[in-house]
Symmetry: C2
Subunit: 343 residues, 2 copies
Amino acid sequence: MRRTIWLEDDESVCILDQTALPLREECVRLKTLAEIARAIEVMQVRGAPLIGVTAAYGVAVGLREAASPTAANLNTIRRTLVATRPTAVNLRWAVDRVIRRVAEHPTSSWVDIAFKEAHAIAEEDVAASRSIGEHGADLLETLYRNKEARTLRILTHCNAGFLATVTWGTALAPLYVLKERGIPLHVWVDETRPRNQGYLTAWELSQEGISNTVIVDNAGGHFMQRGEVDAVIVGSDRTTRRGDVCNKIGTLLKALAARAYGIPFYVALPSSTFDLSIESGSEIEIEERDPSEVHSLGFSTARNPAFDVTEAHLVTALITERGVFAANEETLVAAFGSTSPSP
Amino acid sequence: MRRTIWLEDDESVCILDQTALPLREECVRLKTLAEIARAIEVMQVRGAPLIGVTAAYGVAVGLREAASPTAANLNTIRRTLVATRPTAVNLRWAVDRVIRRVAEHPTSSWVDIAFKEAHAIAEEDVAASRSIGEHGADLLETLYRNKEARTLRILTHCNAGFLATVTWGTALAPLYVLKERGIPLHVWVDETRPRNQGYLTAWELSQEGISNTVIVDNAGGHFMQRGEVDAVIVGSDRTTRRGDVCNKIGTLLKALAARAYGIPFYVALPSSTFDLSIESGSEIEIEERDPSEVHSLGFSTARNPAFDVTEAHLVTALITERGVFAANEETLVAAFGSTSPSP
């Protein structure tokens, strides 16, 4: 399975350009903080975990650009990176982790320390994704055995596959593990307007040999109603301490339909996606992207919220690298209270 | 307000080509049954009521093509027209009404009788649409007065405006009447993938001076959750005797969200859209259109159901030309049992 981000010559951050996929596989070298910030903003990299890793490298690259970096540089770098995407909490979490780390050391070693910490975040992301895959596969394999269905039929929204992380993915990681275990799978892929990240999901599933069918975002309710979906699994950009899940716009509609038709609705996320500093999803700033992503008709306007909030009561379980948890405050604070980003 | 279908020189059926809209306003002359069938199939005309009217003219045009028409011609014409779109009941209803009518007369007058009956269906559609508009406006005006909102904010899916009928529309007719009454309105328009009929809705609302904003189909749940939608109103392609509403794919997801957030969900339809011969929406054949409407990526397949079924319990009220009705079998059979198409 491919990696989405890596270093070349120990100096350039290289990424798979996700705005070129799935039509073309192109790599882009990012040599400056401005290039990294832009790559996040225009979604050459996307997916909350990968945004976090990229931004961590952004701190290192930003420090290298400053001849002799100071605390003022750190502030500027942080502001630049945090401004790129307001919703995904992993970005802030990763940037702050690198900044806290370098601040423990003399300025002369900041660049090295920052690159090391960014590497560490990347490697932890790989391990977390694989672990999410194992835990999620256990859950879904039980579902498969209990249903005695010939094929496990999963619906997913947006892309929370290996392209959304360093590798493996979050929501799709369990499917890759199930594939290793020989469980027959079929995946319904929401196209995920306005940016069509479903195409990325279809592309990576097809690359890994998993049967999939793309549907318009309108169609998931119909297939759930007609008994053609066994489970829904999605990723998250931020999950609050009571378990409200902020994820790609349209997730909420699928969660409501899953509830209506008795279908389990799972969210797969690394613990870095929890934001225990807020209780309710209504407190999350929802990024509104350019209306031209929706349409450019002269005679009407558009609104383009990029995310929505699925209330905790609609979430069957949260699948993390540390296991599977119920979406409620008591459980989440007990499990993640000591490691989540501070307010 | 424009008409979508009319006769020229008493012989050509002229239509506004809805595959060219909203970019270009083009009229197309349909001179043969094959042209009429194709116009319905490729959606140059669309919307259940307009499909019905067009098909009615199709019978007349088809009879004119046969030098001296026979019952065999009638059968062929019926088969050709009914095969174009399997879901909308108005098509079968209108075709059968014209055929029943001509069958009462000598074959020499069939062409004239068929054109007259098609005209009658068209004019009844205009009257029904206007009446739906008045009844729906009464309902929505009450909602507006009770909420004391400054603007009534309506969400609609697909196009059930004047373009879906001869003129006025079904779901949008009440909005045009509210506009006449001076009620301030704003309409959230679902783009309605895969065919983007939302663009038609935005275009016709803008033509009539009603403020509107196009959103992706994923976004409606978010706006309902955040309190930015006062009511949802849609059309229907077929509604069963217990009130299950078959309509454009994606309608169900909006109905589930409206229910979750306590927002009224209205369906506007002429009585010709009722199919009292079936009880449950699960009995309706759901048209699957070409997967290439969804995407043409080489590496994955697509499924493209064109409609879904919103269960009666999710429907707040049905707005018809005869008034507003609850979506349940007792009410609907009492009100429409004697006039609906027979099985």
